[in-house]
Amino acid sequence: MSAVEPGRAWPDAPLVFERSRPGRRAGRPPRTDLPVPEIPEALARSSPPRLPELSEPELVRHFTALADRTFGVDTGFYPLGSCTMKHNPRVHERLAGLPGFRDLHPHQEDESAQGALELMWRLQEMLAEIAGLPAVTLQPAAGSQGELTGLMLMRAYFADRGEERDTIITADTAHGTNPASVTMAGYKLERVETDARGNLDLDDLRGKVNERTAGLMLTNPSTLGLFDEGIEEVAKIFHDAGALLYYDGANLNAVVGISRPGDMGFDIVHYNLHKTFSQPHGGGGPGGGPVAVRDRIAPFLPVPRVVRDGDAFRLDHDHPKTIGRVRGFAGPFGVFVRSYAFMRAYGPALRETSEVAVLNANYVLARLKDVYELPYDRLCMHEFVLSARNLKRQHGITALDVAKRLMDYGIHPPTIYFPLVVPEALMIEPTETEPKERLDDFVDAMRRIAEEAESSPETLKEAPRARPVRRLDEVRAAKHPVVRYDFGERQRAEAKA
């Protein structure tokens, strides 16, 4: 495995506004001969929006150039920890694009959307089986929204019981979305520590759980990639105090068909359809964040709910204790088509996705732990965290430098500087769809980089050299935010010319 030679030419990528020419256009929408009524002057557009003006050939070239400057799972290895960058099956695009789904209006009468409703209902059934919890909502748009929904469900549950509880406990290794969701839900935050083995510190936990605790938010395995060996005791501590347990499904890819969050003791679970269930990440989204709950929390689920009446399926709004609606319609339906198809392609063998995910991660870990620091000396699950602290101490090379140099090897860096409890963290999640050779390439690249740290650290500091840009001035971007194209600049440049 060798690094790409620097000096490869990347063509310039003008902004679409820079490709624009006045009077050019691509689309000609249908027009009529009908007279256009006047809009009252106070409401009428005074000056046109400066949208791009270009022909279709230029438009196609523009987006093609941008795609060329983007690295996806389709391009190569993308071991971004806690994001589960698995292969996105291509048949899903064809299925989501079927006119019966793509062109189906969400206000269509239920009896004319039976195929869509049945797909959603069946997806719910499979998700319930995987979580070990019976009642599911598909409505939340992403994992974060699933988290917030879960917290709102807790609040409604306790309000219904007349119990005043105001605090949520999260792990110190928690993804930032957990505390952010806690704030948006109007709860106070308490943090519990992780012990030397990578499990929740039970003594610390017992001291913090009391009658004001609403619940725990936890992902298991944790962001360290470790299964909490004390999870049964953790569940008991919270349940004994009358509190609930919320499962952050970001790491579900480790345990599908192997351990169910409901059986671990969790009462509310969110899934990330774009992680565990193959919805493509889309450069940042869309995703899907369904939530499953125990029966006693089901009355509070968002509406509408997808229900079955004999052979028919419908949207049911009649749930007086519902927390309400968290998103439009019944959820991001196109995402459901893909996740449903993914699950139907494996059947009960979905378990193998977790087995291979865990195998792949342990293999990479075994071959790197002699070269990078391993903060917790245990077998991992679907991901693991290394520290580049040894490289920093010995050669002044940071996790950031390692990440940037990986780019020159044609590999997307892992997550860096997270979780916060590990200094110079590198969080690596290979996923189950990677063949062994890709894992070996990654190991080789990481080992070479460790060697380069000693023999030629300046190579790492200068990296990347094989991408369209070198390291960016992020300080400038933050101090002087330029967040849209400045049309005036172009006019001034044209006036000078």
Binding site: P30, I258, P280, G283, H412, V469
Partner: protein, 443 residues
């Protein structure tokens, strides 16, 4: 099996390298008490051909907008999605990349988002846009959260009743966690009265209105925004992106935040999603903006480059004090929006708007039903029906025409009002057919 690459030989080599004999040993850290020891009770696996057949069968049992002449709108619209969108959606790089945390790997996505942000600012007359929110309803909750922090001494938000019911429902779901009271202002003949806003906005952090509103009518936007500003509340205006070639931008008449559902600009209806919500604001609020923001900078060689910026607002840094918990957003759908708005250009967007206006006017005149409201419309008109609108819909569909949305589903006392939506995909002949069918079924 499925999409796995592993072979038995691979497995053996890997287990040896790890130093265990079986895969089961890797799961010893899972306590026996929580192990799942049976097979998952899910349907058996399907190969690709059988999978396609099964799912095509499900799709065939849905009546989509190609299978009947449809005038359904009410927040989701059958506007034309141009083929250039496929260039964005089908390129594997856009499809399968994630959030551009490593900018050197993602300049294409980052630049596209920067262009999207610019387009949204142009449409709405605002200074800063984020990289998208979940949908047109949740961005309203996002905007209210911004207002809550911008006007911290006020604990109320005012919603016009003419705002999309789903948008109002989502705001009401989020409001208790934000510690905000929600007050709604009823409509007056299908629009909102600025005096009624002024009456209740004196202790509100924000006022949310929609233009055009859910009943299809054009609101007195500038007057409503003035009433909100006069009361010290942030005006939030929910707009239809397709209308912004012919309707004034909210920024031009004093709005603080502009939001909306992007679906009509570049996404198919897809039974409700995924789509994209947009949120743009005046520069005063940039540090309180939720969601990703892409900024321009330079690299070590002075080349122009793009990067996620002001990340200290976001959950992965600011955690419990973040401006939002949003992480995954709707980037791919927003980029489809960018491609569509670029395909239209300013002239095309204006033409779509004019076609909508013209057809809506034609529908008003041609359909023999009474108008429910006097106010001018953009692309949706509310008609009074002699029998319940739901029944009219059922009967009309027997003739192969879906005439629209029954407003009685959301508004008390409106069981006899039918909301008809036109888009540039409908023709004069289509409207003639609708008029004939309605005449027939309303006899």
């Amino acid at each position: 099996m499925g999409y796995l690459s592993i072979t038995d030989a691979d497995r053996e080599e890997m287990l040896a390298a790890i130093g265990v004999s079986t895969v089961d040993e890797l799961f010893e850290q899972v306590p026996p008490g929580v192990r799942f020891d049976r097979e998952l009770d899910v349907p058996q696996a399907l190969g690709e051909a059988e999978l396609v057949r099964h799912i095509e069968e499900l799709a065939s049992r849905n009546v989509h907008t190609g299978a009947e002449l449809s005038f359904l709108g009410a927040g989701i619209y059958d506007h034309y999605v141009p083929s250039v969108v496929d260039v964005v959606l089908s390129r594997g790089e856009f499809l399968t990349a994630y959030t551009p945390y490593q900018p050197e790997m993602s300049q294409g996505v980052l630049q596209a988002i920067f262009e999207y942000q610019t387009v949204i600012c142009e449409l709405t007359g605002m200074d800063v846009s984020n990289a998208s929110g979940y949908d047109g309803a949740t961005v309203a909750a996002d905007a209210v959260f911004v207002a809550k922090h911008a006007v911290p001494d006020r604990a109320k938000v005012v919603l016009a009743e003419t705002v999309n019911p789903q948008v109002r429902q989502v705001v009401k779901t989020y409001a208790p966690g934000f510690g905000l009271e929600v007050v709604e202002v009823a409509h007056t003949n299908g629009v909102t009265d600025p005096d009624r806003i002024a009456e209740v906005a004196g202790d509100a952090a924000a006022v949310l209105i929609q233009q055009p509103n859910f009943l299809g009518a054009l609101e007195p936007g500038p007057d409503l925004v003035e009433a909100a500003n006069g009361a010290g509340a942030l005006p939030i205006v929910h707009v239809d992106p397709i209308s912004l070639g012919v309707l004034e931008s909210p920024g031009a008449y004093g709005a603080a935040i502009a939001i909306g559902e992007g679906q009509g600009a570049g996404n198919w209806p897809s039974y409700g999603g995924p789509h994209y919500g947009f949120l743009a604001a005046r520069s005063d609020y940039i540090r309180r903006m939720p969601g990703r923001i892409v900024g321009e900078t330079v690299d070590a060689d002075g080349r122009r480059a793009f990067v996620l910026t002001l990340q200290t607002r976001e959950q992965h840094i600011r955690r419990e004090k973040a401006t939002s918990n949003i992480t995954t957003n709707q980037t791919l759908l927003a980029l489809a929006g960018l491609a569509t708005l670029s395909w239209l250009g300013p002239q095309g967007l204006r033409e779509v708007g004019e076609t909508c206006l013209a057809l809506a006017q034609y529908a008003r005149e041609r359909i023999s039903l009474e108008l429910a409201f006097d106010a001018p419309a953009f692309k949706e008109i509310a008609f009074r029906t002699p029998r319940p609108a739901r029944e009219v819909i059922r009967r009309a569909r027997e003739h192969g025409v879906h005439p629209g949305y029954a407003l009685g589903r959301d508004y008390e006392g409106m069981d006899d009002i039918l909301l008809v939506a036109v888009t540039e995909k409908r023709t004069v002949e289509d409207v003639d057919r609708l008029a004939d069918v309605l005449e027939e079924v309303c006899r």
